[in-house]
């Protein structure tokens, strides 16, 4: 956790410094609601098409078509299952509640197409860390593990003007937390949001 946290903190600090020193004056603030679907190890642990996802972000337009910023999210996967748990001759059956709470903390960079006040498709990525909580409840026992993953979150979307300040945003983001303690954190989010410039 220590190394991961240091890298994440450095990335966030760098983003803030770059933002502060940039001459551009315009920030975009947005919040988004997402649905998400897990992949690979995450899906294996908690196979859930999730309706519980939320994100908040700030982007500083350092050029007309480039922004750097920050992104924080909260993604929840939950599954009720009676899958048999097997490990080296030990088999455990029973109703299980499995949860993944993932919190991406990212520095972001985006490139925009289109005119400044028009509809602006964009591509970009986040880089930073995911704090994830894995929890398995079976019977009256709960097992919980906290994990930090270094990660990236490539993203594509479009920002649509509503009026002079307000913007609607649609995006799709691939969240990838690199393997840590044998677990890879992977999921897609599909978001709709609102923002202000």
């Amino acid at each position: 956790m220590g190394k991961t946290m240091r890298v994440a903190a450095a990335a966030l600090f760098l983003t803030l410094v770059l933002s502060a020193e940039s001459r551009a004056q315009q920030w975009f603030w947005g919040m988004e609601y997402m649905v998400s679907t897990p992949m690979s190890d995450t899906k294996e642990f908690a196979n859930d098409f999730s309706w519980r996802n939320f994100g908040i972000q700030g982007r500083n337009l350092v050029k007309d078509n480039i922004s750097v910023g920050l992104y924080f999210g909260w993604n929840v996967f939950a599954e009720k299952t009676d899958t048999l748990i097997s490990f080296q001759g030990l088999d455990v059956s029973g109703v299980q509640y499995r949860y993944v709470n993932a919190f991406p903390i990212m520095a972001t960079a985006h490139y925009y197409f289109g005119r400044r006040r028009g509809i602006r498709p964009f591509i970009g990525t986040g880089a930073g860390t995911y704090h994830s909580k894995y929890r398995l409840e079976i019977g009256q026992v709960a097992f919980e593990a906290n994990q930090w993953h270094l990660g990236i979150a490539p993203e594509a979307g479009v920002i649509i003007p509503i009026n002079w300040n307000a913007r609607a945003m649609l995006n799709v983001r691939y969240n990838y937390g690199v393997k840590a303690n044998g677990i890879t954190l992977t999921y897609w989010t599909f978001g709709v949001g609102i923002g202000w410039m």
């Binding site: 920030w27 908040i56 080296q88 001759g89 202000w196």
Partner: protein
Amino acid sequence: MNNTPRKTVRKTVLVGAALSLGIGAAACYPGSIENIQELDVVVTVQDTSVDYSQFLLYAMPDTIVQINDTAEGSVELGRDHDALILSTIAQRMAQLGYVRVTIPEPPQVLPPDSTPDLVVLVTSVGVENSYYAWYPGWGYWGWWPGWGYWPGYGPGYGWGYPGYWVQGSYQAGTLFMDMLDPNAPAQPVEPPEIPVVWTGALNGVLGGSSAGTATRLTDGINRAFDQSPYLGRN
């Protein structure tokens, strides 16, 4: 809305700090138990080095040993379901192709090739997570006259569970089914142990006066055998 960079950075830091602090405490766990059966957990442990098709005859005492005391959190273990438990286990063993041998009391000389290959012992534990109390061994089972067929065993012997298996957390009212191979060499540990080749545990299903206890017991025993497909003559 235009902000100065310094002001905006301050806002960013504040929002980020608030969110980061919240991460430590926040988490969402939306599920909830819908009925008591959802709390039933069945654990089975096999000895991966054993070929279970080599066994044919088994003995099972007609008694369920109860391990209990008056410690806080313990449950009173009744005898209402003993016959159901033993008959359900016997039924599943028969379906697996194993043949039950009745041990006469006092032990008499059995016909050649009639010595059981396995001994199935059923124990209920009314104490919560009690490692010392659960570990049954000779102290709880030494009374069984069937041991007379394996004169090498006696007081001081324990049960040797397979692999890394340790008795961890379990609830009061747990039912244990142990399958011992008394013909195998005792495990060279101190105190010596009779090898246990299979264990099934139904966590917390006994005790209380739930009307559904009988169903939960039969479901649990059946589940223990269902999730152990390596058992049986075939």
